[in-house]
Subunit: 141 residues, 2 copies
DNA sequence: GAAGTTTTTAGACTATATCTAATCTGAGAT
DNA sequence: ATCTCAGATTAGATATAGTCTAAAAACTTC
């Protein structure tokens, strides 16, 4: 996603393309990691050193509401965010806590009537275990 | 799980069965909800009004390490915990934030070599959408 | 019942997130 | 161009979540 696309996305959602908001979105699309609010704030701060924490949180809330960003569900302190791009699943390392993306594939929904009257919007698959690095380290250590 | 079983579980994991630790475990097994640390602390506090927040956190950490309790991955402030019992998946309501259990069924692992050298310990499936209550309310409202 | 270990406690401290009121910005109207 | 005003941003106070410390208490073992 390049700068012009980000601008279009924001304005298409009724959000002004402010420098701070743009910086949040740009950071999230560039680094497809699962950034904490602190990391995102730091990135916005590189663009404008006078920017406020509140703005980063406000913008993250707006972007999540607009459907451009997703809050990732992981245990541990501090929310994590990612730009909504190619769908994928997640792998969380027990040891180092890193979150990695796994290729998307369809997951079967619960069978029969067990969903009851619930309405499913999306589904996320989280694997847990040891990432490549930690697995090798624990094998050789 | 009754009182004697909880005691056995704790001692089998090398943990003393203290009143506070017992209270944490008992609350989590009774209420198979996905309790926040604050709710658990409140429950422990009903048993012993002088108990400390730190103790609840210590005990939750110990119980997670011992494999009797799991920290549930959900977005939002405040970690949530559940006793490890029958395996199940989760449904998170977009609207009210409640976490509900869904019947367990096997989920296919990523195909081929896409896991690389990762070692998978467990897998969790999270559905998101509207719970029965919120779905009905939004349909009729 | 003494000695040593584990656990708990109170409260300070750190980290994370939100709120408030004042100020600033920019896109459309003129 | 510049006025206007809703939407955005700011600093800093406040709220919420979690951790740490040192001392006291509660068990275990002898």
């Amino acid at each position: 996603m390049d700068a012009a696309e980000i601008r279009q996305f924001l304005e298409g959602s009724g959000l002004r393309c402010t420098p701070q908001r743009f910086a949040v979105m740009a950071f999230l699309t560039e680094h497809n990691r699962h950034a904490t609010a602190a990391e995102i704030f730091e990135a916005v701060n590189r663009v404008d050193p006078r920017s406020s924490r509140a703005t980063t949180y406000n913008n993250l809330r707006d972007l999540v509401q607009a459907g451009l960003v997703r809050e990732v569900a992981v245990e541990g302190r501090g929310a994590r965010f990612e730009a909504i791009g190619v769908p994928h699943h997640h792998f969380v390392c027990d040891h180092c806590g890193n979150v990695e993306d796994l290729e998307w594939y369809d997951v079967p929904k619960p069978a029969g009537g067990s969903l009851g009257k619930r309405v499913v919007r999306e589904c996320e698959l989280i694997f847990r275990g040891l990432c490549s690095n930690c697995a090798q380290r624990s094998a050789s250590g």
